[in-house]
């Protein structure tokens, strides 16, 4: 892309970001944010970060957008009251000044970064072969810095435990989210019948290519989660009760397999999260395959919120 295109992209990004901050209606702001998120994927691509672009599109724009839109519609009633709490002019001016100062400092730092920037790319390239995977990012995520990835899966789980712990006591063990309204002939139901099979294939494909090309479990898991969400929203399928054993098993299977493979590494490769010579790629794929459903279930349930209905409710 040429500089002109970059400039146009940046201008559009800034305009949407500005709109997100100043919009009066929360809904308008969220809409602005979702389109901003989609545009941002272009920025990642422009910066040669295709894996990140996929993640951003799936999670940053997609799931976060869905989350915020859902919350906006639920919280619409509170908007008027909240506007009254808006801080006075002096506060806003002060806020603008300090925010500008921080932004200026960051901008200065960006300009002052060393050129050429330090990079671990050569080291990654050097050691890529021993991991067996072709995508350097997957190598970083699953081998060099596998600890971070394992912790990330655990972070999601902690988030979910946190959300569940907010449930009201009487609904504990019940189903999350509001009872779905079934409209068998609606457009949603139609989509929900058509898309999931395709989505399933796409999700697994993204996971599969992730070893060598952009893609991976997070992106794939998000696609699967989106398909399940579609089913839930259309009413064709009801959310499972949080007390069900299979839900819990599905949630922890991925991280558990990750830990077990890591422990296996202690015995066969001499280090926790190490892979023995030649078996690196299969083991990485085992972990990714185990993580995919866990991530899909976790992401879906994160979006659904705490249990809000008893298990027996329709």
């Amino acid at each position: 892309m040429s500089i002109a295109l970059h400039l146009a992209l940046i201008a559009l990004l800034l305009a949407l970001a500005f709109w997100t901050v100043v919009a009066r209606e929360t809904f308008a702001a969220v809409a602005g944010f979702v389109s901003y998120g989609l545009l941002l994927t272009l920025a990642w691509v422009a910066l040669s970060a295709v894996d990140v672009a996929l993640t951003e599109a799936a999670i940053g724009a997609g799931l976060t957008g869905a989350l915020l839109i859902g919350a906006t519609s639920r919280l619409r009633k509170t908007e008027a009251a909240a506007r009254a709490e808006r801080p006075g002019r002096a506060t806003r001016v002060l806020a603008a000044i300090v925010a500008t100062a921080v932004a200026a400092a960051i901008a200065a730092c960006v300009l002052l970064l060393p050129d050429p920037g330090p990079s671990l790319a050569p080291e990654v390239a050097q050691n890529l072969a021993s991991t067996g995977v072709g995508n350097p990012i997957t190598a970083v995520l699953m081998s060099f810095r596998a600890m971070d990835t394992m912790l990330e899966a655990i972070v999601l789980l902690f988030g979910l435990i946190g959300i569940w712990s907010l449930a009201s006591d009487r609904y504990w063990g019940g189903r999350p989210g509001l009872a779905p309204v079934v409209e068998p002939n609606g457009i949603l139901a139609y989509l929900a019948r058509v898309l999931p099979p395709i989505g399933l294939v796409v999700g697994i494909y993204i996971l599969w290519v992730g070893a060598d090309y952009p893609g991976g479990k997070f992106q794939g898991g998000t696609v699967l989660a989106a398909m399940w969400l579609l089913l839930l929203m259309s009413g064709l399928h009801d959310a499972p009760a949080v007390s069900q054993r299979w839900v819990r098993l599905a949630l922890v299977a991925g991280p558990a397999v990750f830990i077990l493979v890591g422990v296996l590494g202690v015995f066969v490769a001499g280090a926790f999260l190490g892979y023995p010579e030649g078996l690196a790629k299969p083991l990485i794929i085992v972990i990714e395959v185990a993580l995919l459903p866990s991530l899909a279930v976790t992401l879906t349930l994160l979006l659904m919120g705490p249990p809000q209905r008893s298990e027996s409710s329709p």
Binding site: A105, I106, A108, C109, L112, L113, P114, G117, P118, S119, L120, E123, V124, N127, S143, F144, R145, A146, M147, D148, L151, E152, I154, V155, L157, F158, G159, I161, G162, I163, W164, S165, L166, A167, S168, D169, W172, G173, S243, R245, R248, L249, L251, V252, P255, A256, I259, G262, G265, V266, A269, G270, A271, F272, L273, G274, Y275
Partner: protein, 509 residues
């Protein structure tokens, strides 16, 4: 700082560090699957094993006298991630294990699953979050990589926030939300600093960064952003907006965890950064600024604590003040570095302050919880009868208070002695004044609470609820740990200085 052991080799016993982190996390996974009262059993098993692991780590590091190191996946930094445990980390892990154990004992009374129910929300959540907090903290202490530390901080936040709202009242939900959003802002600052450091130096490893950082604007900005973000998570005045309602609103066992341990995670990182990563670029004015914030925390926090009508809020504000003490060490470290005397006195003083506060504050919050169950309220003005009904608990409160005040032989005293010595040795008498005034203010509210609790009950009064003896014992045990910590000086070894340049302390115990 030149750690005695080679930085980039796994040392014997290094695997224990992985265990210290993973064991609690594995406990969370298992507890979630089994659910119900099994979660509690799993938690207990994990606590016992975990304490064993921490003891083994202590033994290993005392045995070798050097930092324990483990290279995850066998990859050496900068490509891989290393876990390292120096003396500071080992001490913090020990105290966390002790507090978690005591809180666990206490929580048996409050978070058991009642008979006839398969699973209750609060019990399941509490036991899982207890383990989550523990694992996250251990990760904070041993991680040698600033991005893994970011993830660890987020884990800690995600484990801490639900603890605030565990009893589901509206105001605790709001407190939890404030905590979460503010902490996230702090994390973003930290993350930005991390990225800037990587952009400038091409590594995330603490030991490598310490060698590579130079005095240049990007480093300054990164250090400033990371420090500010961590201060927000530690709730150092004036960034403490979330702390009082969150710590006062949570159930007693959760408050104990939050106030004693969770905030120490971010504090520990500030110490790591300032003492180990940026010793060359941290300037004395910056350290003075940090301590000045600490000093204002001590004064404002203590005075506001004195004026609280409710015991738990009083204790929460006392935490605001005590956090201030934790930051007084920085200008002393800085000035000691400049005088070539070695910063051991100030660092050990700060560490002891953290440890004694952790044990004392956990004991205080749990004591407040017992007082609440016994009296049915926690109004400071009307605590009479509590001393008669809960003699052990009030004793524990008084002992914990003595530790906060800094009366000997408590850990607080030893910490004060070291910090005061360092302040005088570096001619920074104003911190002496702050510490002494803070101690007096602390003694005022401890005295107030203890005296009111000792007053005889109204005739015909009877406790609302009989609290189990083991809860009282857990509180007293923890308070004794804090009160007798100073006797650690009588021990023949100095754990805190393992893996650090050891300099004999002149004129200090």
């Amino acid at each position: 700082m030149s750690p005695a052991a080679p930085v980039n080799l796994t040392t014997p016993g290094g695997l224990l560090l992985v265990l210290a982190v993973l064991l609690p996390f594995a406990g969370v996974l298992l507890g979630l699957v089994l659910g119900g009262r099994h979660a509690q059993r799993v938690a207990w098993l994990t606590i016992l094993l975990g304490i064993g692991v921490v003891l083994a780590i202590t033994r290993a590091s005392l045995g070798s006298g050097a930092s324990l190191v483990y290279l995850l996946g066998g990859w050496a930094p900068p490509l891989g991630v290393a876990l390292r445990a120096d003396g500071l980390a080992v001490c913090m892990m020990l105290v966390v294990a002790v507090v978690v154990g005591a809180v666990g004992v206490y929580a048996n009374g409050d978070f058991g699953t009642p008979a006839g129910q398969r699973e209750t929300r609060a019990a399941l959540a509490f036991w899982l979050l207890l383990l989550a907090v523990w694992g996250s903290l251990n990760l904070v202490f041993v991680s040698g990589d600033i991005f893994t530390l970011y993830v660890a901080l987020e884990l800690l936040t995600f484990a801490g926030v639900p603890l605030v709202a565990l009893d589901g009242r509206a105001e605790t939900l709001q407190a939890a939300l404030r905590y979460l959003v503010y902490a996230l802002l702090g994390s973003m600052f930290y993350l930005l600093g991390t990225f800037l450091l990587y952009g400038a130096y091409g590594t995330l490893d603490i030991a490598l960064l310490a060698e590579r950082v130079g005095a240049q604007p990007v480093t300054w900005m990164a250090a400033a952003l990371m420090t500010a973000g961590l201060l927000a998570k530690t709730a150092l005045f004036p960034l403490h907006l979330w702390l009082p309602p969150a710590h006062a609103g949570a159930p007693a066992a959760a408050s104990a965890l939050l106030s004693a341990l969770v905030i120490k995670g971010a504090w520990f990182l500030v110490v790591r950064l300032w003492v180990d990563v940026f010793p060359g670029i941290v300037s004395l004015p910056a350290a003075q600024l940090l301590a000045a914030l600490g000093a204002s925390a001590i004064i404002v926090g203590n005075i506001v604590a004195l004026r609280q009508a409710r015991l738990k809020l009083l204790i929460a504000y006392s935490t605001v003040a005590q956090i201030g003490y934790l930051f007084l060490m920085f200008p002393l470290v800085q000035a000691l570095n400049a005088t070539q005397q070695g910063n051991a006195a100030a660092v050990t003083g700060g560490l002891l302050q953290a440890i004694s506060h952790a044990t004392a504050k956990a004991a205080m919050f749990m004591a407040a919880g017992l007082i609440y169950s016994t009296l049915g309220h926690d109004r400071v003005a009307d605590l009479r009868g509590a001393g008669r009904a809960l003699p052990m608990t009030i004793t524990a409160f008084a002992l914990a208070g003595a530790s906060l005040i800094g009366l000997p032989p408590s850990g607080g005293f030893l910490a004060k002695w070291l910090l005061l010595s360092a302040a005088i040795a570096t001619a920074q008498w104003w911190w002496v004044l702050v510490m002494l005034v803070g101690g007096l203010l602390t003694s005022a509210y401890v005295f107030m609470v203890v005296v009111r609790a000792m007053a005889p009950a109204a005739p015909g009064w009877s406790p609302k609820k009989q609290v189990p003896g083991y809860q009282q014992a857990a509180v007293l045990g923890l308070a004794l740990c804090s009160f007798l910590l100073g006797l650690a000086a009588l021990l023949p070894f100095d754990v805190a200085q393992i893996g650090r340049a050891v300099v004999p302390l002149v004129g200090s115990p």
